[in-house]
Symmetry: C2
Subunit: 187 residues, 2 copies
């Protein structure tokens, strides 16, 4: 393994690791600037400046391209923790809402949904989940556990994610605040 | 307009109305038994027993086929109303969960998500929404209003819809019950 090779690309040489990074970035651009249907080997190859043959050789399936795109997102923006749980949850949901709009996280969520039943995506999904819901889950785990915690995490995430993916709409500030108040009132 | 023509197909003759019904049913079958990517003019035409040319002539876009598929779902199963709000919400969410599994409502939700920003789908989306969330919204409107009502509807729907579309997983009975209890505790 050369020094340039990423840990995630164990066994690949540096050239493949560079190609992987370029293709992953291009796949993410196509997915967020265009849409799910646009993520084809031809389109991603064109964007990345490689041949279709190269892409097919390393990543034969569409889901391979999508998995790389999701990995290429990196860390999501998070709110800095304060002492006030309500403040933190409201601020975190507003950041999530902004990310949906600015980073086109709606198209990312949709790609996750499209591949929800694909076993190969399990690691990518868990990883994205950790990056996306980690802050909310950690904060809610201070006051809930078990089924209540699972329900609270789904509900809090759902107040932004559901209208986004179902209706292409984002919740108002007062709907976000109401959702946090509903969950916290049940403590 | 002949007596056979559906009110929804005003101006179309009976033959087109029949073709529409056949194609809509075929599109729904392809969407639920296969998936979003399978909904092509070629596949739906083959399933419905018409030529691709006929399909393209009447419904030139993929979104036309998807809109017809969503209309073809008809009424969704709902719980019979009792006097107890908690019982009704828990039972309704369990029916929703069953429909995700048996009717492959997950693939329907995904098709909704794929077309969330398509203006042409607005009517279909609202209609599906009414059929899907109508019962929960009406029951919650007895105890909430304004932003609280919107948040409660998103959160209650989200506890089933979110894990389904994001992770291909359905919530346990105790997570559903916990979600209903969280929402009702805030009254």
């Amino acid at each position: 393994m050369t020094p340039e090779a990423k840990p995630s690309a164990a066994g690949e040489d540096a050239r493949v690791a560079r190609t992987r990074a370029d293709v992953a970035r291009a796949a993410l651009e196509v997915l967020t600037q265009e849409d799910w249907d646009a993520v084809t080997h031809a389109r991603v190859a064109e964007k990345a400046g490689y041949s279709k043959t190269t892409l097919y050789a390393h990543w034969p399936l569409k889901v391979d391209l999508v998995a790389m795109a999701l990995d290429a997102i990196g860390e999501l923006p998070h709110h800095d923790r304060t002492e006030d749980l309500r403040t933190d949850l409201v601020a975190e949901l507003m950041l999530f809402r902004t990310a949906v709009k600015d980073m086109r996280l709606d198209r990312i969520l949709l790609a996750m949904a499209q591949t929800a039943s694909v076993e190969q995506m399990a690691r990518v999904r868990e990883d994205f989940n950790r990056r996306g819901q980690g802050f909310v889950r950690a904060r809610l785990a201070e006051v809930f556990d078990g089924a209540q915690l699972e329900a609270a995490v789904s509900m809090i995430s759902g107040v932004v994610a559901c209208p986004t993916i179902m209706f292409g709409e984002l919740p108002d500030d007062d709907v976000i605040a109401a959702a946090v108040d509903i969950v916290l009132a049940s403590r």
